[in-house]
């Protein structure tokens, strides 16, 4: 048993050790999940002795890290759902929402908005919104930790770790989408998507926000309690558990407030009163929902407890979103105003925020996985719905809805109705373009001046912030009758909302509607002007008419009924569905077509890739002036590890040239540039079948998510590496268009390794960016490829010049071909070497058997193929006589079939044609006569490359050297051997000289002559220490020597 096999066994054994036990009974599948009959959902499970429940944050082993068994080597994620997928192996799954450490994101993207305290490398996490697999093997959980989501402007240092918390503690303030120079706050910042989208989404976000307070931020601190509770009450009954959780939530809210925010109670109280007094439909709805939830725990909606609970929750949201307000205790409204003013100043100082906002817009399209993951945060069916919206939020809407739904603005608008002080301040706030806008907006008597102000200042954020709210309102209005439909399943689950509550909501609805209308109109104008300025394709007019509401409605969902549109949203819990919906949306709205906007030059793009390309241009040439530090060239959309590698190599560039390269001008120069081996053509002619083979192999493996090996052989210059590279290029494009899963491509040339074991070092370096010794790297990789890692991308490894990896034990090759067969490795190895029988000839059987039988042989090019290759490169350039190309092709095909050779000859021929005047082609054909490079040029080039210069070299030797050669030949003929001793040659030489009538040179001179001949390798000798006993051989045939010297 090999060592590696033993290690594997050991590891598997270790992994299997913590037995997983489901806790509680299985949950009833939700409507969506009913389709998956084999899947059983649970509330939690016990891994070893660690109990893990939904919403818990856990460490998940990252096999790709250096030490997966310590928290530092693990990824952090929140468990959204746990289920048994009913399969035989790896059946215990969890769905997670990933978090990333700051160290895992690109350096240049670690910037935070100006008003946010700097990131704490140890404490801060970012919410991961890149497309990672969210379905994880539950057994890869290492332990439990704790993540607290807090507003982005709160300093991580101020956050106190809950005293009763035993686990590691993190905070999360930002989201990370893999794009943009700034991290985005968890929820804030309306972006500039067209109003319609935001409008539609704002409902969703609104709804979402209702639940959100009850979710992440509160849930997190509640964990210790939960544990207690768990200890106290066995989770036998689902309902019971539900109820308990509810309680915990409520209580934990209070705890939270006191712990982290330290919000002054008076303010809160006031807000609450506002809310209660005003009873906006929004809030009512919120409340209704919350209450309905609470109903489960048999609480009365009107009860004090409830009242208190709701506003608090809401306020928590506000805390998250309007950070500047929260940290300071405000005792009265003037104080608030003061606060707001401060905030305005802050925002004015930070155009970065704007950028961030617009970047968010760029990152609109977010993986479906993410959405799914968010969606799966839900435990009970009722909540699922909201979370579904919320997931949408996270994907597209949340970005827009920075000010989303229940956000403080809503409240402040309420308060503005009550307190005129805020109203008075509105203009200032408008300019600032922050929540204050909403206060203004909420007032139906918005002065035109204000509007003007806003448009003039072009505070996008303000506009967009404003829009969602308004649209929320509107949407609400639209929706009200539909809400019951929307929540249909909820109601079923929860035995419906109480009817009086419903009525309540509706009565308030009308009021809200009116308000919303006025708001809407105003906002419309603003947003439209905005949109116009941004070249958005919105068709909206700039006029603000009070009658626009209906129009707006229709515009919001052109072609599609509100119901149609929303119901899929609600139902779409799986990524697919959500995606579908989104596509639908996109299709339905021509206005939102150009959704991708570059934050640097306001250009818009229809596809994300375009934008990425565009952004790369920016990266290259126009580093953002405001970005601290140098912007580095980065590959788009690559995971952080890869980025690390690239950035580190940045510094080591060969210095850049100052003058630009001159471009080829003449036809011959152009032809030469095209004929250079490095000029890879768009397509590789004559290698289509091989290309297809490689492509389908890799594609299949990628789609299957498995590993595999392929061996490619062929003599040098037959396009092996080029074909594989082309394949990878195509695969990359496919994965960019998300036809294929994203993958990491590593290319290692064994020739650029100093010794075979360096392969491991290189692979590790390319994969993780870490350096290690060969042995260490090997064990790390062994571990990596042996352990499951949900966030791992498939790896395509191209190993060129495989034969050089040969070692006596063949451990390098063995591992290389063994890894792909490991279940979790997702490693695809494409090995290239020259000899076809390398596996049989060189490798041990156990190695070659692992290599498998997927083999492709690249035959040397035939002359027609070579002709085709040269011709395809010269397409459109009329420099070559076709016969000349054929001559080259035939000559090369006869010798080696090496495409490089053919290209080099052609290139040389262009040079010859340029420098030397050849007589024009004797051919009568005008085409041939016109050709710049004719047969004669090519012929000379071929001669230069292929003819041995030895005859010429002999002719240019000195007389004595020629005599020595003659003497050697004479000695050969005398002895009949192909080897002569110097003493004898000397004798022959002397007699030769006497015969020719020349005075012979002395032995020392002759010996140095022999050495000169040896240095040219006309003669092969031993070390000249042997003197007279030196043995000589000719490096060419004696006939050649005689031929060369016949006239001497």
């Amino acid at each position: 048993m090999t060592l590696s096999a033993r290690i594997r066994l050991k590891m598997i054994g270790k992994k299997a050790n913590p037995k997983l036990k489901w806790l509680g009974e299985s949950l009833l599948p939700t409507r969506k999940d009913r389709l998956r009959s084999d899947v059983t959902f649970y509330r939690g499970f016990c891994l070893g002795n660690i109990p893990v429940y939904e919403k818990d944050c856990v460490y998940i082993r990252n096999a790709d890290s250096s030490d997966p068994d310590s928290p530092d080597g693990c990824d952090i994620a929140k468990v959204l759902r746990c289920y048994d997928n009913g399969q035989r192996y790896n059946n215990n799954r969890i769905e997670v929402q990933w978090y990333s450490r700051i160290g895992d994101i690109r350096k240049r993207q670690r910037n935070v908005p100006d008003n946010a305290p700097p990131l704490d490398m140890n404490l801060d996490l970012v919410k991961e919104e890149r497309a990672f697999d969210t379905d994880v093997d539950a057994e890869s959980i290492l332990s439990v930790c704790h993540v607290m989501e807090i507003p982005h402007d709160q300093s991580p240092l101020e956050v106190k770790k809950p005293s009763n918390l035993l686990e590691r503690f993190y905070i999360c303030r930002f989201r990370y989408t893999g794009k943009g120079a700034y991290l985005m706050p968890l929820k804030e910042e309306v972006t500039e998507v067209s109003r319609h989208t935001s409008a539609r989404r704002s409902l969703v976000s609104h709804l979402t926000n209702l639940t959100s307070p009850a979710q992440s931020p509160k849930r997190a601190p509640g964990r210790p309690r939960k544990i207690q509770e768990k200890e106290n009450t066995p989770r036998s009954a689902k309902k019971n558990a539900n109820k308990l959780t509810k309680e915990v939530i409520c209580i934990s809210t209070d705890e939270n407030d006191s712990e982290e925010e330290k919000l002054a109670t008076p303010l809160r109280e006031k807000m609450r009163h506002n809310l209660l007094n005003k009873k906006s439909p929004l809030q009512d709805k919120n409340r209704g929902i919350l209450q309905s939830k609470v109903q489960n725990s048999k609480r009365k909606a009107e009860s004090d407890v409830d009242d208190e609970a709701i506003p608090r929750k809401k306020f928590r949201v506000e805390d998250h979103q309007e950070c500047p307000v929260s940290p300071l205790p405000n005792k009265s409204t003037p104080n608030i105003r003061f606060q707001l003013k401060n905030f305005i100043k802050e925002t004015e100082q930070t155009p970065k925020e704007k950028k961030a906002a617009s970047e968010e817009e760029n990152s609109l399209v977010i993986s479906n996985d993410n959405m799914t993951s968010v969606e799966r945060k839900t435990g009970s069916g009722r909540r699922l719905k909201f979370v579904c919206y919320r997931s949408l939020n996270d994907g597209k809407i949340d970005m827009n809805g920075a000010l989303t739904a229940l956000s403080p603005n809503v409240k402040s608008s309420r308060s503005s109705h009550v307190s005129s002080t805020i109203k008075r301040n509105t203009p200032v706030k408008n300019v600032a373009g922050k929540p204050q806008n909403i206060t203004e907006d909420s007032d139906s008597d918005s002065s035109p001046q204000k509007v003007k102000d806003i448009t003039a200042t072009k505070k996008k954020i303000s506009n967009y912030k404003a829009t969602p709210l308004k649209e929320i309102g509107k949407l609400r209005a639209l929706k009200d009758n539909e809400i019951s439909d929307l929540l249909g399943s909820d109601c079923e689950n929860e035995k419906g909302l109480t009817s009086d509550e419903e009525e309540d909501t509706e009565s308030e609805h009308t009021f809200k509607k009116q308000k919303a209308k006025s708001q809407l109109d105003q906002e419309k104008t603003e947003s439209r002007s905005k949109i116009h300025s941004q070249n958005n394709l919105n068709v909206a007019t700039t006029k603000s008419t009070p009658t626009k509401l209906s129009q707006n409605k229709s515009k919001l969902f052109p072609g599609i009924g509100t119901r149609d549109l929303i119901s899929p949203l609600l139902d779409g819990r799986t990524p697919k569905k959500v995606k579908k919906t989104r596509e639908l949306k996109v299709k339905s709205k021509s206005t939102v077509k150009k959704r991708f906007r570059c934050d640097e030059c306001n250009e818009t793009f229809t596809t994300r890739t375009e934008l990425l390309d565009h952004e790369e241009d920016h990266d290259d040439f126009k580093p953002l002036p405001r970005t601290p530090g140098r912007k580095k060239k980065q590959s788009k959309g690559t995971p952080s590890l890869k980025t690390k590698k690239k950035s580190s190599s940045q510094t080591t560039l060969v210095p850049a040239r100052s003058d630009p390269v001159s471009q080829p001008e003449t036809t011959l120069e152009l032809a030469r540039a095209r004929l250079h081996v490095s000029a890879v053509p768009d397509t590789l002619p004559c290698r289509e079948t091989q290309f297809h083979d490689v492509y389908s192999f890799v594609e299949g493996k990628l789609l299957d998510g498995t590993g595999g090996c392929m061996y490619i052989s062929g003599v040098p210059g037959t396009g092996k590496t080029a074909t594989v590279r082309e394949t990878v290029k195509l695969l990359r494009e496919c994965s960019k268009d998300s036809h294929l899963p994203p993958f990491t491509f590593l290319e290692i040339n064994a020739m650029s390794l100093t010794e075979p074991h360096q392969l491991w070092v290189q692979v590790l370096k390319l994969l993780t960016g870490t350096k290690a010794t060969a042995e260490h790297a090997s064990s790390l990789l062994e571990k990596r490829f042996n352990t499951p890692a949900p966030r791992r991308e498939p790896t395509l490894l191209l190993v060129d010049e495989l034969d050089l990896l040969w070692t006596r034990k063949q451990d390098v090759m063995y591992n290389l071909f063994d890894w792909p067969s490991r279940p979790f490795s997702k490693l695809i190895v494409v090995a290239i070497a020259n000899t076809m029988d390398l596996p049989e000839r060189v490798m041990l059987t156990r190695v070659s058997s692992r290599l498998g039988l997927t083999r492709i042989t690249f035959q040397p090019y035939t002359h027609t193929q070579l002709q085709e290759i040269v011709r395809s490169r010269l397409l459109g350039i009329n420099a070559f006589d076709p016969d000349a190309i054929q001559l080259v092709a035939r000559k090369v095909a006869a010798l080696s079939g090496d495409a490089r050779r053919a290209l080099d000859i052609c290139r040389r021929a262009t040079e010859i044609a340029e420098t030397t005047k050849m007589p024009p082609s004797p051919s009568k054909s005008p085409v041939k006569r016109a050709a710049l490079v004719g047969m004669l040029h090519v012929d000379q080039a071929i001669k230069e490359m292929f003819t041995s210069p030895k005859i010429l070299a002999i002719r240019s030797c000195s007389v004595m050297e020629q005599y020595v050669l003659k003497a050697v030949v004479a000695e050969f003929t005398r002895s009949g051997l192909e080897e002569a001793v110097f003493g004898r040659v000397l004798e022959q030489y002397i007699s030769l000289c006497r015969f020719e009538g020349m005075e012979p040179c002395n032995a020392s001179e002759i010996l140095s002559s022999v050495n000169r001949l040896t240095s040219q390798r006309l003669v092969l000798t031993e070390h000249s220490r042997r003197d007279l006993t030196l043995r000589l051989r000719l490096n060419l045939s004696p006939d050649d020597v005689s031929y060369a010297l016949q006239d001497v």
Binding site: P655, M751, L804, R907
Partner: protein, 441 residues
Amino acid sequence: MGLKRQREDDEEGDGADDLMTQLQQHLRHNLTLWGSTHEAGEKLLSLYRSEAQHLEELMTRTLTLGESNSAMVLAPRGTGKSALLDTVLKKLERTGSLCEGFVVRLSGLLQTDDRHALREITSQLRLETATANKVFGSFAENLSFLLESLRFGSKESSKPVLFILEEFDLFCHHRNQTLLYNLFDVAQSAQAPICVLGLTCRLDVIELLEKRVKSRFSHRHIHLFPPDAFDPHYLATFTHLLTLPPDTLPHKDFAERWNSDVASLVEDIEVRRVLKRIHTTTKDVRTLKAILLVCVSGLSGENERVDAKRLTKAHTLLSGDSKTKLLHGLSFLQLTLIIAMSHLTHTYDGEPYNFEMVLHEYLKFSRRHSHTRPLPRPVVFKAFDQLKGLELIRAVEGNTRGTQREYRLYHLLVTSEQLSTALGTIQALPTDLQQWAVSAI
């Protein structure tokens, strides 16, 4: 001899001496074995016009178009490969195109393995500064670092690098030919533009390359064949090496006189004979340079002309047979032994022999000539041992372990011609010894 001349020089008048010292300085500069002066470079360019043009175009294209190239310059030793390349580089420098790129010079004799070569490349590319904060670790790291830095270059953006590999054939012996493979690979792919020029005298250098390295090499050969003709070329070289540039010396008339002397020297039949002799032996300019250097160094205030006699003397001094000279310093006993061995070689037709056989011959000879008493055996053995130390005899290779020293087999490394020449010039050689040697031969 040198000391004596020095003393004579000191006694001479300062004026003539100074002049001569200056002259020697100038000419020595011309006659250095390595490299060449500007004038010599120009001459080389005129000799190898098309090759120089080829090189120049190649490098210019790399420098201006960013086109990667590789080429091999092949020529016998002493033809002027490096000199030609230097001249072309100087020309490029003058035209300003070279300032755009780096020149990295490596020599197979200095960079004996890839590790050294990589370090040298890194330092010559001035990439050390980039790695100042990094500890330059292993060979592997070095290699990957360098390759990475070349890989991240592009045709348009990075500075072109000219790699000049002298004694290219020695690089072929590096392990796996890693360096060559990578250099040629960079030159064949769209990475930083580089131009790899190999200089070598081995005509079969391509066969030394591994097949994949060979495939990546562009197979561009530039051959420099020394011109054959004696009359215009070799004599011109001779004149050129000795001619003073017009305005190098303060005394114009002296310089003119010197130059006209040199011109007349070429016409001298004796000089021509010597030069012809050198030319027939070798076309390596360095041999001529060495001879002329001896001539020029021998000049002084009173002998201020290079003449045929001086040239002949220098020629014989440098082209003398080493063995013959070595034989001059031997004792009579050792000479006797050499003659005895020569007899043995003749008798056994080149078969080796051992000490006992040589001793037997020696004793035979001594007994025949009664006036010389044979020396005791240890003395003879000691003399034999010394001959071995002088490498006039050489032990036969093979399994010599176990055999006693007396019975070890030897070859004589002196030909009968060398022996007779040497015996002819040794004074006070005993007549019977002379006779014995002649009789045998």
